[in-house]
Amino acid sequence: MTIAQKKIGPTLLKVDNISLSFGGVKALTDISFEIREHEILAIIGPNGAGKSSMLNCINGFYHPQQGTITFRGEARKQMRPHEAASHGIARTFQNIALFKGMSTLDNIMTGRLLKMKAGLLSSAIYKGPAEREQIQHREYCEKIIDFLEIQAIRKVPVGRLPYGLQKRVELARALAAEPTLLLLDEPMAGMNLEEKQDMCRFILDVNDEFGTTICLIEHDMGVVMDISDRVVVLDYGRKIGDGAPEDVKNNQAVIDAYLGVQH
């Protein structure tokens, strides 16, 4: 099958010399890398390497003590998660963070909240502008539901869904925010082979159809090697590898880190 090469653009997000510590524990030490527009970047590394901390720094959940993060040419030191979200960074979590009692559709609609402009008064009256806005947002959410093939669970409370589908709903909610950069924290953890295949297809489709840049953490090396354009490897809070999947696979430092060579 001949699929035209996708265009990887200029740098979207740049991480410069980030260091993060919790008291005496150094989670991240002097890390620099960049995420380019349109690419799928995987961050890998053994347990406790600082992968999730890295994502948390990018979307403003943690504030690194040193270093800067430049997103779309705008350097920043301190940013809150909601600011990151309004700048176009959306994420999913390692442990699913959905509203379990709400339906799939309502959960996805919460992803649109930042885009809703109707005030308290007009929302209370509802008829008129607020209703029109609601319909627009619902339409967008329906497109995502269609895209991720979750029509059958539209009205089902999320708590009743199997794990694999909950992961998909979380992806749907992140997509509802129309992100420029999508951060996925272990999107395939705990899934069976078939669910993983589906998730891979959705990630590739999101990247392709919506043009979303994706940065993901993943443990399944098969998945990482198959879908990512570039891989960043962390170990004990340091970056030990960065490059195309093939190069990283042959990198001695990476092999040592995974096979547990003494430091």
Partner: protein, 659 residues
Amino acid sequence: MSETSVMPDGRDPLGRDTIPKFIAYNAQHRRDRPAMREKDLGIWQSWTWGEAANKVRQLACGLAALGFKRGDKLAIVGDNRPELYWSVAASQALGGVPVPIYQDSVADEVQYVIDHAEVRFALAENQEQVDKLISIKDRLPKLEMIIFSDPRGMRHYDQPYLHALEKVLAEGEAYGQAHPGFYDEEMARGKGSDISLICYTSGTTGRPKGVMLSHDNVVRSATLAINFDKINETDEILAYLPIAWVGDNFISYAEAAIAGFCVNCPESADTVLQDLREVGPTYFFAPPRIFENLLTTVMIRMEDASAIKRGMFHYFIGVAKRVGCAILERKPVSLTDRLLYALGDLLVYGPLKNVLGMSRLRLAYTAGEAIGPDIFDFFRALGINLKQLYGQTECTVYLCMHTDTDVNPDTVGPPAPGVELKIDPTSGEVLYRSPGVFVGYYKNDEATAETKTPEGWVHTGDAGVFTDNGHLRIIDRAKDVGRLNDGSLLAPKYLENKLKFFPYIKEAVAFGDKRDYAAAFINIDLAAVGSWAERNGIAYTSYSDLAGRLEVYNLIKGCIEKVNRDLSSDSSMAASQIRRFLILHKELDADDGELTRTRKVRRRIIADRYGELIEALYSDRDSIAVEAKITFEDGRTGTFKANLKVANAETYAAMSKAG
């Protein structure tokens, strides 16, 4: 058909002899009535007959612009989507022949059909189907163009032979304007004797055969069926069965165009039950499997309901079983029972039918396999006019149908209007002649000659008997009916159907021909047995683990012994009580060739593949090691090893019916 009366042979008094002509008629006389609906982005979108006819015209002109000619075949592969039905009409209007293909066929099966039918044009629903076609394109020199309907994921495909449906429609619009009158002339050239459809039958043995049906076959059969059941333009159906199956083409396309009713397409294959509830069809066709599944789901849900609800449910279902069928058939019932039934309708049947999407249902058919009498009566007792129909692709769907007031779960009804039936006295096989008798098998005169006698009688391959009131009862496939060593009759299907009534048993395969006793393979139903295991605190890791549990064997043993007790009361069947059984470690699957695409058991393949297991049933071993080859959905294969238990079941002395 209020405007005209129907002729006894099903010919149209207005001379419309092809479905596109009926669609053109509807575009004039039912312009603003709904023809199709489809749920898109969570909202039902509808097309009127005027709009639908216009789409058909655009698509036909678009196909013509691409070079589609009279006699060309159009392969159609995908789920039930309006544009797929329109493409059937468009190809027929141009004098071409649609060849629908099962959407879950693997590439190899698709390749066989496209190659055999010499298809030049294919319409694929989405990327998945396009990928399948592209993967076999090299081996199909005659396949020239692939049109795809859903553009998702298709942006980077640059093959010159791929065409987006949207573009084809736009080009068709331009072509139609440049050639005014083209479509109407092409449509008018079609005649009743032309081939209208080639349906590849799933075939229980060997390669599928292409059944050629003429426009006359389809139009006349559909007209007679519409008249028989008083179907009219206010009816509604949900089109969810595979478009490659002749019955879906018949109901969702031919009957819809002739009667002018509305066809609803589900949002996706997973949402069918929800869509059923939203649409509330008045006319519903489903294989027994669907009714079985619905009943199983209801029963499982009721097991989990609160004690009060459960009590109420069981009490009123008891009432319904006692008097429901009689009330439906307008037979005398005492006033007390009528009042109780009315109360039950208010409290249980009404809400239940609403949940199942059957509130407005006035006509439901089941066919394809014999349905368990208890399942059949359950739905009839709720006040649903469920009837049986018997037929096959070669006769254009039906031969026998129950009338509304004379329904018997053990039979498939009297011969339908226009159908002549006879039973071969030596083999017991059913033969027929009807307006629906197929033209022949495509490029297979030998098979045609084997099936169709020179006098026009067609062999069904089914063994049957006529009951005293003129109904036909199908016992089994003529070739499957066997005899035990003591000479008594053995109809495997009959045993299997009895077993499959139990919610815990999903599939059963019975043996016994030329053996000393009857024995069976059992496939457990994961949902039902899983829920049972949960309630009884039995832990299990997988399907095969659950299937091998001793507790599950005892559960199934209980079911089999109930069947045996039941059989013992019927003198002709008492000898075929099941003495030994085993529970299979995997589900029988169409992908492994064990079931047909319409999910019928392929006996020979199973006998071949599980020969050792069958021998174990007829030995005194209590377990056997198996190594099975499994085909995954992506085409890879793997092997599976397990130790299967073989268990015995009690049998009972034959009793006379009076005792």
